[in-house]
């Protein structure tokens, strides 16, 4: 047996022995035993727990709207048992129409900064404008974000990168559709179904001396949500989420405080400092069209055109391929070296990152000149289709 084969055989034998030892199955299962059943973000699971579905798929803001509607509907239904259901629903919808604005602050256990959302509604209870302030802990990689959504376009300001993105954000567009179509009656029916089949247990406590709100507690799947409803306005004032362990001990995980006061006008505008890089993905042509090319060919062609643009020092074109980054910013980033030629380009591969985001990584070796020295360097670019929502068939580097 050659040395090579011998090492291989010994490694295989060692692997076989290691595989037979130290299984963590029991330890893992004992740890997940008390954890709630995870809820899918996919639509087919939504009937199981409607508001968790909404929260995962359409984002926190949709959840707020859904919770608002559900909670008020439940509140009215449970509180006023003599009121016919149809009347109760009308009353609920009328209460939301009258509101016009909602401001929600979500506080999570262990975090100092809240997540803030303001929504302005029209007379049909459809969101007109949404403003979100996302604290850094919500997105440790990018840091805090300010988001303003209006007329199907979202502006996203990332202070850490000093970048303002203008996007026709699909999820927000879907959110608008969802929020417009939220049918309080249907939601209530689903909630009642969940209660009837034993997936939710709902208890209503009327105001007492210490507690001036109606408290609706909904328990199931290891979680308790407590809704505090103002008996006068029948609007949700507060929501608390508790994790419940096997001994029924509750740990507070998050609270949401609601108010319905018209906010200052500047809430619905994003102010950015001077020097902010503005990337407009709505009005700029980003990427290159796929045409008749296969995905792999398109990925390679995108990379080829990108490097060619840099060889020609056409930063405008390079930026258009590079997610729409403006020419001056491209020059700032890529002007530090001169691309002389592309020495080689590998076939596109799917790696751990591109698998998550879609598309490929394409590695190239370039001959570059920097500080008077000519060298060869390897670069790996991530390329995907559909990064630009306005041109979903275009391929771009991101």
């Amino acid at each position: 047996m050659s040395d090579k084969n011998e090492i291989g055989s010994r490694l295989r034998a060692l692997g076989g022995e290691l595989r037979g030892q130290g299984s963590v199955v029991d330890d893992v299962m004992s740890r997940v035993k008390d954890m709630p059943v995870p809820m899918s973000s996919r639509p087919e699971q939504r009937d199981a727990v409607i508001w968790r579905f909404i929260m995962k798929r359409y984002g926190r803001i949709a959840a707020v709207a859904a919770v608002l509607v559900i909670a008020v509907v439940i509140g009215v239904k449970m509180i006023d048992k003599v009121t016919p259901a149809a009347y109760a629903l009308q009353q609920t919808i009328a209460a939301i129409r009258e509101v016009g604005f909602v401001h929600v602050m979500e506080w999570s256990a262990g975090q100092d900064e809240p997540l803030s959302i303001w929504i302005e509604y029209n007379e049909n209870t459809e969101p007109l404008t949404i403003r979100m302030s996302l604290p850094a802990w919500k997105s440790p990689e990018d840091g805090a974000k300010e988001v303003l959504w209006q007329d199907n376009v979202a502006q996203v300001y990332v202070p850490k990168k000093n970048v303002l993105l203008t996007v026709a954000e699909k999820r927000l567009r879907e959110f608008r559709k969802l929020a417009s179509s939220l049918d309080a009656g249907e939601l209530f029916k689903k909630m009642a179904t969940l209660e009837n089949i034993g997936q939710r247990k709902v208890e209503v406590t009327m105001p007492t001396g210490d507690q001036d709100k109606i408290v609706i507690a909904s328990t199931g799947n290891g979680l308790t949500k407590k809704f505090y409803v103002d008996p006068g306005t029948r609007l949700l004032a507060r929501m608390e989420t508790y994790r419940v362990d096997a001994d029924n001990n509750e740990t507070l995980e998050a609270t949401m405080d609601f108010d319905y006061v018209r906010p200052e006008a500047d809430v619905f505008a994003i102010q950015v400092p001077e020097g902010t890089t503005e990337i407009d993905m709505v009005n700029t042509i980003i990427g290159i069209p796929q045409g008749e090319m296969t995905d792999e060919q398109a990925a390679k062609e995108t990379v080829r055109q990108f490097w060619q643009a840099l060889i020609e020092q056409d930063y405008q074109k390079a930026g258009a391929i590079f997610s729409g980054v403006p020419a001056d910013k491209m020059q700032e980033i890529f002007g530090k070296f001169k691309v002389i030629r592309v020495v080689s380009t590998d076939e596109p591969i799917v790696d751990a990152v591109s698998k998550t985001t879609g598309g490929y990584r394409v590695k190239c070796v370039l001959q570059i000149e920097m500080n008077g020295r000519t060298t060869q360097q390897e670069f790996g670019l991530l390329v995907r289709k559909g990064g630009s929502e306005m041109l979903p068939d275009n391929w771009m580097i991101y």
Partner: protein
């Protein structure tokens, strides 16, 4: 046999016990990733546990259940890197003066123990490639998918690892 997708669906539908099968199927690749990064059996075991507990908690965020294996591999790498940063913030494994504790309760023969120690002394990329290939029995393409490196690179790393291991084992003799 049920596919990973079916198992994921069943867990999401409330069949928690089916998660055990997912752990059973994927714990070896996850262990290889963990060990190759933390270089210590006991810490590696903790990382494997932590990985699956995190995966369970986030299972609802897995958009394509057929991708469970690569998804859990990414979680494992993050968990292992966190654990490695906590254990030894600065000393790279191959430069550390002492050989990491790799023995799993002393059950290995001395020859295998030496081989495992030698594997742990490999450079991180080579170590990861060797462990995924020989210990987790992934093929080159699967390793490329997990590590983000090309199959050519993986092949070279395994080849280099062979040479290094031969040299190290001769030194031990």
């Amino acid at each position: 046999m049920q596919s990973d997708s079916e198992l994921v669906e069943r867990v999401l539908a409330g069949e928690k016990a089916d998660f055990a099968e997912l752990v059973r199927r994927h714990e070896q690749p996850v262990r290889a990733i963990a060990l190759s990064i933390v270089g210590n059996w006991h810490t590696g075991q903790d990382v494997v546990q932590e990985t699956f507990v995190k995966a369970y908690g986030r299972l609802g965020q897995l958009h394509d259940p057929s991708q469970f294996s690569s998804w859990v591999a990414v979680i494992a790498r993050h968990c292992a890197m966190d654990a490695a940063a906590k254990r030894r913030p600065s000393a790279p494994l191959e430069e550390a003066g002492n050989v990491p504790a790799v023995s799993n309760n002393g059950r290995l023969s001395s020859e295998k123990e030496e081989l495992l120690k030698a594997v742990m002394r490999l450079k991180e990329g080579e170590r990861e490639a060797v462990m995924l290939y020989y210990f987790s029995e992934l093929n080159m393409r699967e390793i490329a998918g997990v590590t983000g490196r090309s199959t050519g690179t993986i092949s070279k790393q395994i080849s280099r690892a062979h040479k290094r291991l031969r040299k190290m084992l001769k030194e031990y003799e």
